[in-house]
């Protein structure tokens, strides 16, 4: 953990809505960089991996920049958001994409029995201790926009929400924590979570 800069690296790979994450970090007054540079990402005290759009093109961008090899080797606190959570899986039904393989599982499309995309505020049930989930509020409401969900083993599920059935709203493995919702767009509950993450990273 030596020689880490006290800043958050927001990974920029042209698939993330980095703008809204940037605005949220500005509001928190946190030091951050938006970057695709491996050295700066490695040196950061925390990494945020945002995402929006499709799995296939996103993975292509990551490979193009060599980030597909870097991201699985990071050791600092890591926060994936939305597509940035789904890309941690082995694969996704979306575009038949092979993903980063950090957390075992696959992303699947919601069945036709519910509207897709899931769009709006859903209630998150936290199933792990708040110290492991950056204080993700149990029973808190967070803003979701997704047509696919991360189907994974129970041991990696940090939170759920119900959309036809319980799907993972947050997953965790080692230093990797990721949420299906957008904390940067989730009002006070989301802001509190981002703040807790930055505090753990000492930024």
């Amino acid at each position: 953990m030596s020689e880490r800069g006290n800043y958050i690296a927001v990974i920029d790979y042209r698939s993330g809505n980095t703008g809204s994450v940037k605005n949220a970090l500005e509001r928190l007054g946190v030091k951050y960089v938006v970057t695709d540079d491996a050295a700066r990402i490695k040196k950061a005290s925390g990494v945020i991996f945002p995402g929006q759009g499709r799995a296939g093109p996103a993975m292509r961008q990551l490979r193009l920049k060599g980030l597909d090899r870097l991201i699985p080797r990071l050791e600092q606190p890591f926060l994936g958001i939305c597509l940035g959570m789904q890309l941690l899986a082995d694969r996704s039904e979306e575009d038949g994409a092979r993903c980063l393989g950090i957390i075992p599982g696959a992303c699947r499309r919601f069945p036709p029995s519910v509207k897709t995309p899931q769009l709006g505020w859903n209630k998150v049930v936290s199933v792990q201790s708040p110290s492991l989930t950056y204080g993700m509020q149990d029973g808190g409401y967070f803003y979701f926009v997704n047509s696919y969900y991360f189907d994974t083993d129970k041991v990696y599920v940090a939170g759920t929400a119900a959309y036809g059935f319980d799907f993972p709203s947050a997953v965790r493995k080692d230093n990797y924590f990721a949420v299906q919702f957008h904390p940067e767009k989730s009002g006070r509950d989301g802001e509190r979570m981002l703040k807790a993450f930055c505090e753990v990273c000492r930024c």
Partner: protein, 491 residues
Amino acid sequence: MLVVPAIDIKDGKCIRLLKGDFDKATVYGDYPLKMAGRFMRAGARCLHLVDLDGAKAGKPVNKRAALEIIRKTSVPVQVGGGIRTYQAARTYLDAGASKVILGTSAIQNPDLLERLIKDFGSDRIMVAADIKNGRLAMQGWTASSNLPIAAGIATLKRLGVVNVLVTDVSRDGTLDGPNFGLIGRFVKAGFQVTAAGGISKLGDVAELNKLGVSAAVAGKAVYEDALDLKKAQAAVVYKNTLTKRIIPCLDVKDGKVVKGTNFTKLKVVGQPVKLAEKYSRNGADELVFLDVAATLEGRKTFRGLVADIAKAINVPFTVGGGISSIGDIRSLLAAGADKVSLGTAAAINPGMVRKAAEYFGSQCIVISVDAKREGENWVLYIKGGAEPTTIDVLDFCEDMKRQGAGELLVNSLDRDGTDSGFDLELLRNITDRVDIPVIASSGGGSPEDFARVFQTTGADAALGASIFHYRGINPSELKQYLSAEGVEARP
């Protein structure tokens, strides 16, 4: 999803076949009605009845036993086996069967299917798709036809069949687990699918639920107590905690929020950023900003404003008004808008919607629909409601979904500015037909109006203006009211 126990009747007794082979039968009980009672006590909410002799003979054989169960049980009973004539189907349906199941070969008798669907409704007619060695098996389970699955699906669709019972015969009675891939194909094709064959444990049932199956029929597993009906049913009960969204709408002109019943009498309501902060603090789930001037000069001001709003608030917001090109969309999203709303441009050039969805993702493309009642239908208007088109609103909504729209914002020109309640009929028609999120707009003047739109239509969100700007009701007060009325809302 429902978990449905199967009662298969042969020679008046309850039996199970292995892989549909009549020579490999296990007898589980002498009296089917008793079995039905046992399943009901175990928590069954529906029963699945098959007259096996009937299936083989091509006409009902154990009709008396089946009718007895249909008449004497208090849960829906679906029944199949040898139903190949109108009269045979009618006997069961008139006796109170919830559905009749016609054999796979029914697709060779389109006239019968059509008549049954017409007279009893597609929700009471189910067609069995028995799959053997990757093809549709046509008669009983003993002869294989040569109809490939894709062709079978196309035929069923064409005939107007909605309910399909998918059984992989090679797995039936084996406890090997269902053929999920096969079942998924039927679900994706848009059928209400009842899955049967090989369902043996809780995990199978949960997986079918995730696939979007409507009902799972379990036979051997419930007979042999390998599957607890109550537990299975509890594991797949439909749960949805997604809340209904309340969205204040702000009209912007020359950098100010304005309001007026027509464009010539606009009144300044306040500063956009200040109002945005106030509303998002007070429970707005999202915000919409419309550039009502949409002049070239106003455009730049508006873009700057969007950037300021994005910096200030932490809930999503949509912007719209005069967006006519991919370049417009790109610049507004880059400025920090979460979504853009397209109106006239989408009607004139639907291809642009497709392009925009491909470039930026469906989730940020909202289509604003201006509808006006004309007789039985609604006609699409463009240019802020100033100009009628010849496009039917329901057709337009469906087309927009096809083009990749993520959401529909539905305005009623008959209700706009009247505070007389949302156009519930319009919204019901749209939400019945299109399965993407719908935002109700126009006419929401009181909290009661908002409760009604969520209680009686499939709307996912509702837009309001004067209720927030003038009547002093803030979004969180409105949502408190909605919660008390039983509408799921974010506190």
